[in-house]
C-alpha cells in the first residue's frame, strides 16, 4: 500500500505510486513529466483527504445520482447507424485495424 504524507519540496518519494497510476491510466510518462506530476498529485491528494475525514462522522448512503428518481426504460427510438470509415480510424476489409505486436500505423 502506498502512503501519502507531507508536502515534498524538490524531490518526490512517491514515484512508484505515479508509475502505478500512469500504468492504470495507460499514459506513458516521460521522466520529467513524472516528477512534475508527482509533486502536484501528492499535494492535491493530501488536500482531498479532508473529505474522507469529514465523511467518517456521517451516517449516510453514498449519492451517485443527484435526484432520487428512477431512470426510464426506452423503446426503440431510431436507427443511428454510422459509417465507420468516416471516423479518423484505419480500416482494413471493414475491420478497424490497430497495432498489436509489431504492426505500424502511420500518424494522422
Amino acid at each position: 500500500m502506498y502512503s501519502i504524507g507531507g508536502f515534498m519540496l524538490s524531490e518526490c518519494r512517491h514515484l512508484d505510486l505515479i508509475d502505478k497510476l500512469a500504468d492504470l491510466a495507460k499514459i506513458t510518462l516521460s521522466d520529467e513529466e513524472k516528477l512534475n506530476l508527482c509533486r502536484d498529485i501528492v499535494r492535491i491528494a493530501e488536500y482531498l483527504r479532508a473529505v474522507g475525514e469529514a465523511a467518517r462522522d456521517l451516517n449516510v448512503d453514498p449519492l451517485y445520482y443527484v435526484w432520487d428518481k428512477w431512470g426510464f426504460l426506452r423503446d426503440y427510438n431510431r436507427d443511428r447507424f454510422i459509417i465507420i470509415s468516416n471516423l479518423p480510424t484505419k480500416v482494413k476489409d471493414g475491420y478497424v485495424i490497430v497495432p498489436w505486436r509489431g504492426g505500424k500505423i502511420e500518424e494522422g
Partner: protein, 479 residues
C-alpha cells in the same frame, strides 16, 4: 466441485442493450451495426432498452431469484481494442451495482438418470458484450495487427453465475443445455447462433485449489474441457504435487487447456456506478407480468404434462427440446389425436427424417401443421394404414413439403396382393423350399419380395405374412 459462469447473448432482444443497433448481428458486414453509443463516441450516452430488462427479468423469475427493487449498472475499466469506451457497463455489487438476480436456483433434468437435480444460482448480471477481435498471423501472441469488428459491441448479455454445486462434467453440460433451453423458451436467446454463449468453468478436485477454465464455446466442449482438467489435475496429484490456483484457456482445436499469462498484480477495474444511468425500478407490476409469462413457458411443466399423457420419458423430452415440435405436439393433442402415436411421430420418426435430410430441426417451417399430424395419427389409429407405412411412405413426403395436404399424398393401398403372393411363391423356389424344410427366416425374405413388388402402394406386412403362411402351409399339405 464445479461452478459455472455462463454468458448468454439476449439475441432475441431486438436491439442492443443501450442503443438501437441490432442485437443479432450475424450475417452483417463488419462494422455496419454500429452507432455513436456502441462505439463510445464522445458525447454519446447509453439508455437502457426496455426489452432487455423485460427478458432478463423473465430469466430471474424462471430461476426463482431474489429480485431486487431496483438494478444499478457499474463501469468496469480495462483497456482492450474491442472495448470502445475502455470500460464495460455491467453490475458489480461491491461497488454499488445491483444485479437482476441475487440468488436463486435451477431445477434441471438429468437425462441420464431422469432425475431432477438442483443447482444454486449465485447471481445473474446484465451487461454489454464487447466487440470481436481477430488476429492475423501469429494469433493473439504475435499478430502484428489486431482487427476489430464492433458489430457485437453493446449486445445485451446475461451472465449467469452458479454456486459450485455441480458434481461432474456431464452434469455441467446437462445443466447448461437446460439453462439454454429455458432461455430459448422464454424468447431470450437462440442457442444455436454462432458464438451466442460462452462458458467459464471453475473446477477443484479433492478439496484442492480452484482452477478457472475460460473460453468454452459449446456444450460439448464443457464436458471435454472439464474431463481434460480432471485428468490433468489427477495426474498432478498422483505425482505428489499440488494443483495451483490459476486461470487456463480452453483450446478447442487441440483439446487441451493452457495456462494464461500470469499477472503480477490483482486486476484493478476502478468500479463505480455509471453516472449516466440512474437506477432502474423493477416494479411489482413488471414482476407479476414476468411470472405469468414464465408460467406459460415452464419446460418442466410442459414436460410433466406430456408424461401424464402416458408418453415415455425419452420421447417426451425429445419433443420438449425442440420447441417447434413441442408447439405442434400440444396443438395436435388438443385436436384430439392419440398422444402416444403423435409423440412417436413427432418425437422420433419425423425428427429422424429431418435429421437424415440435414434439415434444420429448429425451423418452424420444416414441421407439419398440427392438422397434418392429427391426420397421420388418425390413419394409424383407425387402422387405415400401418404405422410403418406412415413412417416409410408419408413422413418422407411431408418432410419434402411440410405444408402438403395429406389427402393428396395418400399411398394407394395394395388390394390385390393374392396374385403377387402367388407369383412370388412360384418364382422364389429356393426360398419356398427353405421355408418348407424348416428355415423360418426364409419367410421374411419372401415377405420382402412381396413388399418390393407392391412398390409404392401401402400394404400391411402382417397381412402378407398371414397370407404367405396360409398359402405355404396349404402347399405343404398338398405335398
Amino acid at each position: 466441485m464445479i461452478g459455472l459462469e455462463i454468458h448468454v447473448q439476449m439475441s432475441e432482444a431486438g436491439s442492443k442493450l443501450f442503443c438501437d443497433c441490432k442485437a443479432n448481428y450475424r450475417g452483417m458486414k463488419p462494422n455496419t451495426n454500429v452507432c455513436p453509443v456502441c462505439l463510445g463516441l464522445p458525447g454519446a450516452l447509453p439508455v437502457v432498452n426496455k426489452r432487455s430488462i423485460e427478458l432478463a427479468l423473465l430469466a430471474a423469475v424462471a430461476f426463482k431469484c431474489n429480485i431486487p427493487k431496483y438494478i444499478v449498472f457499474t463501469r468496469k475499466h480495462y483497456f482492450y481494442p474491442d472495448l470502445p469506451k475502455n470500460y464495460q457497463i455491467s453490475m458489480y455489487e461491491k461497488a454499488g451495482g445491483i444485479p437482476i438476480c441475487r440468488g436463486g436456483y435451477v431445477k434441471y433434468l438429468d437425462v441420464n438418470s431422469w432425475e431432477w437435480r438442483e443447482c444454486r444460482i449465485r447471481r445473474i448480471n446484465i451487461e454489454e458484450d464487447p466487440g470481436r477481435t481477430v488476429y492475423e498471423e501469429g494469433g493473439i501472441v504475435r499478430s502484428p495487427y489486431a482487427l476489430v469488428d464492433y458489430n457485437r459491441s453493446g449486445v445485451p448479455l446475461l451472465e449467469v453465475i452458479t454456486e459450485p454445486d455441480i458434481n461432474s462434467p456431464r452434469e455441467a453440460r446437462t445443466l447448461v443445455e437446460y439453462i439454454l433451453l429455458t432461455l430459448e423458451y422464454l424468447g431470450i436467446t437462440n442457442p444455436r447462433l454462432e458464438g451466442v454463449f460462452r462458458v467459464d468453468a471453475n473446477i477443484s478436485i479433492e478439496g484442492g485449489e480452484r482452477v478457472e477454465v475460460k473460453n468454452i464455446g459449446s456444450t460439448m466442449d464443457i464436458e471435454k474441457a472439464l474431463n481434460y482438467e480432471i485428468m490433468r489435475q489427477a495426474m498432478i496429484i498422483n505425482s505428489g504435487s499440488k494443483v495451483e490456483r490459476e486461470t487456463r484457456h480452453w483450446d478447442a482445436e487441440k483439446g487441451v487447456t493452457r495456462p494464461l499469462r500470469h499477472k503480477e498484480y490483482e486486476e484493478e477495474y476502478l468500479y463505480f456506478p455509471d453516472p449516466d444511468l440512474p437506477p432502474i425500478l423493477i416494479s411489482e407490476d413488471m414482476v407479476t407480468k414476468a411470472k405469468e409469462i414464465v408460467l406459460g413457458f415452464d419446460i418442466a411443466i410442459l414436460y410433466e404434462n406430456i408424461l401424464k399423457l402416458g408418453v415415455p420419458r425419452d420421447i417426451a423430452w425429445s419433443i420438449v427440446t425442440i420447441k417447434p415440435s413441442l408447439d405442434v405436439y400440444i396443438k395436435t393433442v388438443k385436436l384430439g389425436a392419440d398422444p402416444l402415436v403423435a409423440a412417436k411421430i413427432l418425437g422420433i420418426d419425423y425428427k429422424g427424417e429431418l435429421k437424415e435430410r440435414n434439415m434444420d430441426l429448429y425451423e418452424y417451417n420444416n414441421w407439419p401443421p398440427p392438422e397434418t399430424v392429427y391426420e397421420l395419427v388418425r390413419l394409424v389409429v383407425d387402422k387405415i394404414y400401418t404405422y410403418d407405412t406412415v413412417k416409410g411412405l408419408l413422413i418422407p413426403k411431408i418432410a419434402e413439403n411440410p405444408k402438403v395436404d395429406v389427402r393428396s399424398i395418400l399411398p394407394e393401398k395394395a388390394e390385390n396382393i393374392e396374385d403377387i403372393i402367388d407369383s412370388v411363391i412360384r418364382e422364389e423356389e429356393k426360398a419356398v423350399k427353405d421355408y418348407l424344410s424348416g428355415k423360418k427366416q426364409a419367410l421374411n425374405y419372401l415377405i420382402g419380395m412381396v413388399i418390393r413388388r407392391v412398390g409404392k402402394r401401402a400394404v400391411d406386412p402382417r397381412v402378407i405374412r398371414e397370407a404367405l403362411e396360409n398359402k405355404l402351409s396349404k402347399l405343404k399339405s398338398s405335398m
